[in-house]
């Protein structure tokens, strides 16, 4: 464990330059480059906002702003996007970098760390875009938003835990790579991002509580839209799950490390 951290520290230059290179490479020969990473989720928001708010006439209780639904969507998408991006990239990271792992010696744990770094950078851009849109819609940033720092960490922790476990398994059982995107899609709809939790029938609320992303997404809603502190009791459970999954992921990663290269 200590050795892993030291390896990461020794390779900090490489990790930073990898994150930077990935970002730079995205702008090469593409006019909007990294902006596409924001345009995609924002288009998603626009579609949901347009269809669900205008066509279906969904209204969000507890907030005055008439664009409330758009704000609600954006806050949820900021959280979900970070989560799903880390999970889906960790899922294939070892397979994608298989050749490198076979040929070069470096701390393998750097690979998921690079993924996290680059996803955080994307998320930062998306968050800035979200702030701009919030301002345009007349919703000023508030102090509660400082909660986003620990919240982002919690999302990263949960995503990395899930991603590491699945990424390691995917090397040996390639079906996982096919299943996970589907599961992520289902998971997205089982998290109150597009809809408000109030419209969920009571008998489903228990199921919702079992979803660790629910606590995180509603914390994002609280701080970004409702301007109140997140619900700590619920978050504590999610953080515990995230920590557990991280440990499990690291354990599996360590145990599988040797065999991973054999199988790639």
């Amino acid at each position: 464990m200590f050795g892993m951290l030291r390896g990461l520290w020794d390779y900090r230059g490489f990790i930073l330059s990898s994150i930077k290179n990935e970002f730079v490479a995205r702008f090469a020969r593409s006019k909007l480059g990294g902006l596409w990473m924001i345009i995609h989720p924002l288009t998603q928001v626009a579609i949901y906002a347009l269809i669900l708010s205008n066509v279906l006439g969904a209204r969000l209780p507890g907030i005055e702003n008439k664009y409330a639904y758009a704000l609600y969507l954006i806050a949820g998408i900021v959280a979900w996007n970070l989560f799903s991006e880390i999970v889906s990239r960790c899922l294939t990271i070892f397979i994608d970098q298989g050749n490198l792992m076979k040929k070069m010696r470096f701390p393998r744990i750097a690979l998921p760390v690079i993924v996290v770094g680059s996803c955080l950078l994307n998320n930062l851009l998306l968050f800035i875009a979200a702030l701009v849109i919030f301002a345009l819609l007349g919703h000023a940033p508030n102090m509660q938003m400082l909660w986003l720092f620990p919240l982002t960490l919690a999302v990263v922790g949960l995503a990395l835990g899930v991603g590491l476990v699945l990424g390691v398994l995917n090397v040996f059982l390639r079906d996982i790579g096919q299943v996970v995107p589907i599961v992520l899609q289902v998971w997205f709809w089982f998290t109150p991002i597009v809809y408000s939790v109030n419209i969920v029938p009571d008998y489903l609320k228990g199921t919702l509580d079992a979803n660790p992303m629910y606590a995180l997404v509603s914390a994002y809603h609280n701080v970004m839209v409702y301007q109140v502190a997140p619900d700590f009791n619920r978050l504590a459970v999610t953080v515990a799950i995230a920590a557990g999954l991280m440990l499990l992921g690291l354990f599996m990663f360590r145990r599988a490390s040797a065999e991973m290269v054999d199988s790639l």
Partner: protein, 405 residues
């Protein structure tokens, strides 16, 4: 101090009835692998600083598995590897290069992957740029590079910092011959400064000229460890033994296909190259007197038998060819069942390189009228320059020099 010590190293690839069983093993559940495939077993050797060791063996002997475990990308199943120092490998150049980034950015990335800090790379970047000699391209995206330029940059990074152990795959061509020389000069300079070399090669010439020790792997174990000369002889003997056992194989190791054709009234039993002492050889020194022995079996009565041979260079250009008709020794009225052995003795006044021999049995002065057997690539040999002054070209035409002022 031992620089590298390999103790009872073994590598097995395990397969399980189900991948879930493999996963269960990580959680310490007692599951037995359904199949264990050992590619390396009981490998032990020590390497001292400053040695130059050649690792030889046929394809599949376990050379790359061994090297991967020494560099640390593969974990041994058994035994251990201890390294006191930094290892650099020139096996796969250009690993991890991103085509969209410039040469400079890729250098930072690649050197970072080798474990160097940004500051160390900053100090070395000018040397790397100078060594690669690709001019303004250094700040252009790598996708605009020719493969040679990419190799140059990759080699420059890989050898930017002198390692304690340098692993070189000899078959790796580093661009044009100018740069090849330059890179070899750097490898030799490292060696002079105390770097230990581990060279993987099939080429006897380079093993003998660079190494002071060779390790021969076969079937996953070390079967010989000693002076290069001795080990290479042993290696050739193994190959020869294997080749005899598989006469029908016509696809050669380098991928070329050997063609035999002919009507079969007479057939070529064997073709071999011998030195003056009569020992079969594969490596010929420039100017050495050698005999090409061709054993012929006559299967049917034939009115006339002419045997010819051609020496071809590695590109297939004929360097020299003749036959027994031109040499004034054609045989007439040959009866079935006879065995004839020819010995063509000549001085191998050839340039350094690889040559092949084609042999043909026919009547009259050429094989057009009647072709009993024609065999391409009947034999491949290498010419090495050990004792002569360096020269270039296909032929050895030593001049006498007079100078007037």
């Amino acid at each position: 101090m031992t620089l590298l010590s390999v103790n009872n190293l073994g590598k097995a690839y395990r397969t399980y009835r189900s991948e879930w069983q493999r996963i269960a093993r990580w959680f310490f559940l007692p599951v037995k692998a359904s199949e264990e495939h050992w590619v390396l077993k009981h490998i032990s050797f020590n390497i001292q600083p400053g040695e130059a060791v050649g690792i030889v063996g046929q394809n599949g002997a376990g050379k790359s598995t061994l090297l991967k475990m020494i560099t640390g990308t593969l974990q041994p199943t058994d035994g251990s590897v201890h390294v006191n120092g930094r290892i650099a490998a020139i096996l796969e150049l250009g690993m991890g290069f991103n085509a969209e980034l410039t040469g400079r950015q890729n250098v930072y990335h690649a050197a970072g992957l080798m474990g160097f800090s940004t500051r160390q790379i900053e100090e070395a970047i000018d040397d790397i740029e100078t060594f690669a000699e690709i001019g303004e391209y250094f700040d252009q995206p790598v996708r605009m590079y020719s493969s040679g330029m990419q190799m140059r940059v990759a080699f420059a990074v890989a050898t930017a910092f002198r390692p304690d152990i340098l692993i070189v795959d000899e078959a790796l061509a580093v661009g044009d011959s100018y740069f090849q020389h330059k890179s070899f000069e750097r490898i030799r300079a490292f060696q002079r400064e105390g770097t230990t070399l581990l060279i993987v090669s099939h080429d006897r010439g380079s093993i003998q000229s660079l190494c002071n020790r060779a390790i021969l792997l076969d079937g996953g174990t070390v079967i010989k460890d000693g002076p290069p000369e001795e080990v290479m002889d042993y290696y050739n003997a193994i190959i020869a033994a294997k080749e005899n056992a598989t006469v029908t194989v016509t696809q050669r190791e380098d991928g070329s296909v050997q063609t035999r054709s002919g009507s079969g009234e007479a057939s070529i039993r064997s073709v071999s190259l011998h030195n003056i002492a009569g020992e079969p050889i594969e490596y010929v020194q420039v100017g050495e007197t050698v005999s090409l022995k061709v054993a012929v079996q006559v299967n049917n009565d034939i009115p006339e038998l002419v045997t010819g041979y051609m020496l071809k260079d590695r590109l297939g250009q004929t360097v020299y060819g003749t036959n027994t008709h031109h040499l004034g020794c054609k045989l007439e009225q040959v009866s079935a069942g006879q065995a004839i052995e020819y010995s063509f003795r000549f001085e191998a006044n050839l340039g350094v390189g690889s040559y092949s021999v084609a042999v043909a049995l026919h009547t009259t002065e050429n094989h057009i009228a009647c072709n009993f057997e024609w065999q391409d690539l009947a034999l491949v040999f290498n010419v090495v320059n050990v004792s002569k002054a360096e020269f270039v070209g296909l032929a050895w035409l030593p001049p006498t020099l007079e100078e007037t002022r």
